[in-house]
C-alpha cells in the first residue's frame, strides 16, 4: 500500500479523514494513511514544507494561501469546507445577560471582546465589527486569546463578548458560559450574502505529493470524495467525531459541521466567494500579496474517473 501522511487538526472539520479511514475507503484505494495530530495550521504547514506531511485533513485556507505566497505550489486544495449561519463555525458570542440578537446589537455598548488567535481571525472580527459601525478603542477592545482558553475566559466573565470558533461556541452555549449572537458572520459581513459559503478550511495536499506520486494522489482524492459523500448523506458518520476530535461526546450529533465539497462540486459563485475572502485578507494586510486562488484548487480524481 502507498503511504500517505496526513496532518490532522483534531476538530470537527477533520471528520473526512476519520470516515475515510474507519470505513475503509483508504484501504479500498490501497492507501496506507498515517495520521499526525497537530495543533493548528502552522505546524501542518511546517510539516508540509519539510516533507513530513503529504496532506492536511483540514488546513485553514488563509494559512494555506499564505504558505503559497512564501513558497509557490506548496499547498493545493482538493476540497473546501464552507461555513455560514447554517453550517456554523465562526461566530460572535456574548456573556449571559448581554442582550444581543445580532452583532448590530453590540453597538452602543462599550465591550471587551476576545478573538480567536491569528492575524486572519483578528482581521475578520474587526471587519465585522467595523461593518456594524463600531470603532476599535472607543466602542470595543479586541484581545487575541488562544483557543483553549476561550471557554474559561467567558466563564470567568473576563470578556463581554467574543469571536470564536467551534467547538468552543457549542461548549459555551451548553455550559452557559456564553450564548451565540450571530454565526456565519464572514458570509454576511465580508462576502456580503448570508447564504454564501465562507470556505475557511479544506482538505489540502502538497504540490510535491501531487507531482511525484500523481497516481497515489488521485486515489487519495477518490477516497476523500467518498468520505465527503458519506458525511453529507449519513449522519451516523458523526459518531466518529467522538474521541477523535475535540468534540464533547454528548454533542457529536448536534454540533454544527461545515459543508464539505470537493473542488469540482463548487459553483462558479462559490469560487468567486472564496477569492473574495482571500482578497479580503490581502487587503487587511494579513497576506502580503494578492493570490489567485484558482491556481491552488485542484481536482485530482475526476479526469481519471471520467
Amino acid at each position: 500500500a502507498d503511504k500517505v501522511k496526513v496532518g490532522v487538526f483534531p476538530v470537527s472539520s477533520a471528520l473526512p479523514y476519520f470516515v475515510a479511514l474507519e470505513r475503509g475507503y483508504f484501504k479500498e484505494q490501497n492507501i496506507d494513511a498515517e495520521m499526525v495530530k497537530l495543533m493548528g495550521a502552522p505546524p501542518i504547514v511546517q510539516g508540509m514544507l519539510t516533507g513530513d506531511l503529504d496532506a492536511g485533513a483540514n488546513l485553514v485556507t488563509v494559512d494555506g494561501m499564505n504558505a503559497d505566497t512564501k513558497k509557490d505550489g506548496l499547498v493545493y486544495y482538493m476540497s473546501l469546507y464552507g461555513q455560514n449561519k447554517f453550517a456554523q463555525m465562526e461566530q460572535f458570542v456574548a456573556k449571559p445577560g448581554l442582550d444581543a440578537k445580532t452583532v448590530k446589537d453590540f453597538k452602543g455598548k462599550t465591550l471587551k471582546i476576545m478573538s480567536a488567535p491569528g492575524a486572519g481571525n483578528m482581521a475578520m472580527a474587526r471587519a465585522v465589527l467595523g461593518a456594524v459601525g463600531m470603532k476599535e478603542g472607543t466602542d470595543y477592545t479586541l484581545t487575541e486569546l488562544a483557543m483553549n482558553l476561550h471557554v474559561d475566559a467567558m466563564k470567568a466573565g473576563t470578556f463581554d463578548a467574543g469571536y470564536t470558533l467551534e467547538p468552543n461556541g457549542t461548549v459555551m452555549n451548553k455550559t452557559g458560559a456564553a450564548h451565540t449572537v450571530e454565526a456565519g458572520v464572514v458570509s454576511k459581513y465580508i462576502i456580503g450574502r448570508e447564504n454564501a459559503y465562507a470556505f475557511m478550511a479544506g482538505g489540502a495536499i502538497t504540490g510535491k505529493f501531487m507531482k511525484e506520486r500523481p497516481e497515489v494522489a488521485r486515489r487519495f482524492s477518490a477516497a476523500w470524495r467518498k468520505a465527503l459523500k458519506d458525511i453529507e448523506q449519513d449522519p451516523t458518520t458523526r459518531e466518529l467525531l467522538k474521541g477523535n476530535t475535540f468534540t464533547p461526546a454528548d454533542l457529536v450529533m448536534t454540533i454544527p459541521l461545515p459543508r464539505m465539497l470537493m473542488i469540482d462540486q463548487l459553483s462558479a459563485q462559490d469560487k468567486k466567494d472564496f477569492q473574495k475572502v482571500i482578497d479580503f485578507t490581502t487587503e487587511s494586510g494579513v497576506l502580503k500579496q494578492k493570490v489567485d486562488t484558482a491556481k491552488y484548487l485542484v481536482v485530482l480524481d475526476k479526469k481519471a474517473a471520467s
Binding site: 495530530k37 497537530l38 505546524p43 471557554v151 470567568a156 455550559t175
Partner: protein, 259 residues
Amino acid sequence: MNAVLSFASARLGRLRPVLGVVLLVFVWWLATVMELADPVLLPPPQEALKALVDGLVSGPLLFDFWQTIYRTVLSFAIASAIAIPLGVILGAAEKLYRSVEFVIDFFRSTPASAVFPLFLVLFGVGDRTKIAVAAFGAVLVILFNVAYGVMNARKTRVLAAKVMGAGRWRVLIDVYFWESLPQTFIGMRNGISLSLVIVVVAEMFIGSTDGIGHRLIEAQMLFEMPTMYAAIFAAGALGYGMNWVFLTIEKTFVHWGGK
C-alpha cells in the same frame, strides 16, 4: 520511650512530603468552599480526584501518563549524558565557558514554544521533536548548574589532585565532577522538571495523540475542568515523583554537602 518517640519522628519524616499534598489539596478545597472562583472553573478537589482515578483506572490517562514519562525520561537521559560531562569540562575551563555563555543564556531564556518551529524543521513532526526540544532545554539548565558547581569547587581539593600527579582529565573526573555533584543534583532536578514541562507543552501545542499534555489541551477545549485539573495534578505529581527519585539518590550519595 525514646525508641517510640524516635520511631514516631522517623514516621513523620517519611510522611512529611504527604503533608505537602495535604496542604495543597486543603488550600484548593478551601478556595472552592469559599467560592473564590466559579465552581465550574475551579472544581472541588474531590471531583478532580474522581476524574483522576477514573482516568487512571478505566480511562486513557494511565497510558498518557506512561507516554509522558517515557518521553520525559528519554529526553532527560539524553540531556544528562550530554550536559554533565560538557558542564564539567566547560566549568573547569572558565574562559571557554564565558565564550559559550551567550549561547547558553540565550537559549535558556527562549521559550520552548518559540523554538518548536526550528526543531520541527530538524526533527520532523513526530515524537522526536518533542524529545529533542525537551532534551535541549534540559541540557542548558543542567549544563549551567554543573558548570557553576565546578567553578565554585573548593580550590584546595583541585590543587591536591594536581600535585599528586592527576592530569587534566583525571582532575575533571576525580575532583571537579565530585565537587560539583551537589550542584549537579540541583541541576538534574531542575532539568527533569523542565523536561517534563517541555514535553507536556509540546504535547499540548505541537500536537500529539497521547500524553498528559494532549489530555490537558483536550480537557481545556472540551471544558472538562475536573479532567483538566486531574491532568495537571498528574503532571505535577509526576514531577514531584521524579524529583523525589533524585532527592533520594542525592541523600544517600552526596553525603558530604557543606562539610
